[in-house]
């Protein structure tokens, strides 16, 4: 207790009015946008009822068409593995070219532009383009996922390379090593564990996307899934969804194992 009040009020945390106004504006806009799109309480409860009927029709899952499902899943798996393999193979040079600490600006900026271009569309949109360009089937799906892989993995590769210790690179360069020699002995050891992590992540991501490119004609389980939806065979839909979930979980285990091998 002090006898006299201190002349200047001591404020430990000054109110941030800019942030408060920002939050308020965001809240107002969310409400406005919701009303524009016709959201209402009745619409919501109606939706719940509809959802209930949908769920009831899904059970029990119907694995009767297992040959069709297995064929689709196998094709999706092949699409994912091939797309990941070539996607990463192409991402290695592209990522290296985009790394600003090893590459002069006149190379790295065009490389970054190319990566941004690959990343600017959702894989589904790219898949539609490829289906239109080269026809229905797994090849279009593979190409679409390669583009998607380059878009993500090159950027992550470039960023990993930009974070390496240049001291180690300098030491290797000082031995008279050429550019490639510096890469394999000075750069690659530093980035390898992270590259493995990105690669397994991309395999995971491609597995998920490969189940989807089929919807637009890019091959894989997506086609069967879409057909089942359209025929209201919701029990078959559930069967396919369960299989996709278990596939992703197996992939999770495998990628964790791969990461440990290369630590």
């Amino acid at each position: 207790m002090t006898d006299q009040p201190s002349p200047v009020p001591r404020v430990a945390f000054a109110p941030n009015w800019t942030a408060r106004i920002g939050w308020l504006l965001l809240l107002l806009y969310v409400g406005y946008a919701g009303s524009q799109l016709g959201f209402s309480a009745e619409r919501f409860s109606g939706g719940l009822e509809h959802g209930h009927r949908f769920l009831v029709r899904m059970f029990p899952p119907n694995f009767g068409r297992w040959e069709l499902i297995a064929g689709g899943i196998l094709e999706s798996l092949q699409i994912a593995v091939i797309a990941t393999f070539f996607g990463i193979l192409l991402s290695l040079p592209v990522g290296l070219l985009a790394a600003r600490n090893l590459t002069p600006a006149w190379i790295s900026w065009p490389a970054r532009g190319f990566i941004a271009l690959c990343r600017s569309f959702h894989p589904i949109i790219v898949a539609i383009l490829f289906v239109k360009a080269i026809g229905f089937g797994a090849l279009a799906g593979v190409m679409a996922l390669i583009v998607a892989s380059i878009g993500f993995i090159s950027k992550l590769f470039a960023e990993a390379i930009e974070e390496i210790s240049l001291k180690q690179v300098e030491a290797v360069r000082a031995t008279g090593a050429g550019f490639l020699g510096t890469l394999i002995m000075g750069v690659q050891p530093q980035v390898l564990p992270r590259f493995i992590g990105f690669a397994t992540y991309q395999l995971d991501s491609n597995l998920r996307n490969s189940t989807m490119v089929g919807i637009v004609g890019g091959g894989g389980i997506g086609a069967a899934l879409f057909t089942a939806y359209q025929r209201f065979d919701f029990d078959v839909v559930l069967a396919i969804l369960i299989i996709i979930v278990s596939l992703i979980m197996i992939a999770e285990i495998v990628s964790g194992w791969a990461r440990r091998v290369f630590q």
Partner: protein
Amino acid sequence: MMPAAAPRTADTASPVPGEDRALVVRNLTKEYRKGQPVLRGIDLTFPGSGLTAIIGPSGTGKSTLIRCVNRLVAPTSGEILFRGQDLAKLSGRGLRAARRRIGMVFQEYNLVERLTVMENLLCGRLGYVPVWRAWLRKFPERDIARAFDLLDSVGLPGFAQQRADALSGGQRQRVGIARAIMQEPDIILADEPTSSLDPKTSVEIMDILQGVARQRAIPVIVNIHNVELARRFASRIVGMTGGHVVYNGPPDGLTDADLKAIYGGESWME
């Protein structure tokens, strides 16, 4: 700006042993930013064998000077003559060929942390072996045998399979020196090799560097902050301040007045 005082030079008149292996620096200038030179016209001759210590305050251009020699830093102007070549003029393949005969030892060792000790040593052969051999780790038997011998000689027998990030500072610096020797260098540059080490290890590291200079009869140039270590191990001392050389002579000729000229002030000498 202080005018460049003539360096106090003791023995430039006497014949230098191994003249053809000497490193001659002529009028070397380096500006990282235009109009702000770090090195202001350095003229120096490093004798063809023996350990030369470069002392001087931080930021005076010692590191820049030795990095100009192997061209990790590109000099702005001047000549660096070594074994009949002007290192300042080299580029591309010629520069890499010259670099592989110039070993370098770093203050923070700069080992490739995730490679084993053996792989780090073999980095010293990258200028000689084709890239595919390095990539597949198919180094020539002779190089591998030499690497094992070198590990024994720097006091690290049995460390070949250890990863560099598992070593202590002193052990890392031994690997760093062994890597430089793997290059079969005609000269070794050491940039403050003992600054990150304890006093006892520092002495051991300087001992190894001095031994290399003797056994291989090559010049070893060491940037160093510790004047006592410089006096003890160097056969020649170069004192720099503000981008100039202010002392160039034998260790016993280095007086308190010289140290005052190099570092400025005198309270630190008490």
